[in-house]
Amino acid sequence: MSKVVHEFTTAIPEWKPYVRPLDLAEASPAQLEALKVTPSNTKVSDYVLVLAHDVETLTHRSPLFNGVMYNKGGLSRAEREIGAVGASIVNRCIYCAAVHASRYNQLTKDESVIAAIFADGTEAEISPRLKAILDFSVKLSKCPSDADASDMQALVDAGLGKDEILDLILSSSLFGWANRLMHTLGEPLAE
């Protein structure tokens, strides 16, 4: 019997939508085209099938998402995941937090950072660089944004280059988007 997950975890739950995902048999040519550019062609997830109801945003969202999280140069992939996790904590998106926290752990082979963040949030005892990244992500994710010049300066002081700061802005903001879909259109379930 599956239950709704309410606590942050690195065990990726199942995501169950509150609205009906698109039936592929009823998909328009534009919808089929947009679905092709998702990372996995073999099985389209319920999440992407839900988003396919709005094909004019989905068409651009998938390459945008992949670019922000995986394109070359700039901030490391692992640190972009911290941007995603910071936003997901503010917005309490259990599913996004689980996916991106576990991706951070895989990339770094270190589970202590995420464990500390899940336990203590922005009070977590992590390296000054990661702390500056997490703090900025959390503050930018508030509504309205709470990030100010001192938070920006903290990133510079922690050694981030401007290209890295831009990538952090993008990954944190991207999850202001993703969380508002994932957390509001469905719920995370676990056995």
């Binding site: 509150y18 945003t57 140069g73 998106c93 100010d148 700061i165 202001g176 509001t184």
Partner: protein, 166 residues
């Protein structure tokens, strides 16, 4: 689709030739996709059950909730361009709750909630939209609108802070 200029670059005031312009140019692909998504969310070719005017008016609310005057002005301009009737234009008024219009009431309630406190959203909030007569496709369109605007406003907020760096 309207050939809008890059909304974020205009709002942040990224000066051509500046160091910030060079940094942003390194992610030109992302910025272009952001603009294309903006057009897809605000002025889609097939708007479904959510008109361009309603989208622009709801986006005004999102900008106000984020305390972002520049985006407020941008979405107001879109609202004017869409030629909204008085009723629809009122959606942009943050003190208007939809009045006697049950559909407006549901749209406004949901957008305000998801813009400001998505963590508080539950299954019941989607059911309220369904009970107000929105189709599942329109619920996804509405969700993308508020989610995308929340993203775009934050990208601009971050870039403004970057512009403030020496």
């Amino acid at each position: 689709m309207a050939e809008n200029k890059d909304v974020i670059a205009g709002i942040v005031g990224v000066e051509p030739g500046s160091e910030l312009a060079a940094v942003v140019a390194g992610r030109a692909d992302i910025m272009a996709l952001t603009q294309q998504t903006h057009d897809g969310a605000l002025t889609p070719v097939e708007p479904g059950g959510l008109s361009h005017a309603e989208r622009a008016a709801l986006a005004c609310r999102i900008a106000k909730i984020n305390d972002d005057k520049d985006f407020e002005e941008h979405f107001e301009a879109l609202l004017e361009k869409a030629g909204a009737s008085g009723d629809t234009a009122r959606i942009a008024d943050i003190w208007f709750d939809g009045g006697n219009n049950a559909r407006f009431k549901a749209l406004i309630r949901h957008v305000d909630l998801v813009a400001h406190a998505p963590k508080d959203a539950t299954r019941r909030d989607i059911e309220l939209l369904q009970e107000a007569g929105l189709t599942d496709a329109d619920i996804v369109r509405l969700s993308e609108l508020v989610a995308f605007c929340s993203y775009q406003i934050r990208v601009a907020a971050g870039l403004r802070l970057m512009r403030g760096l020496a």
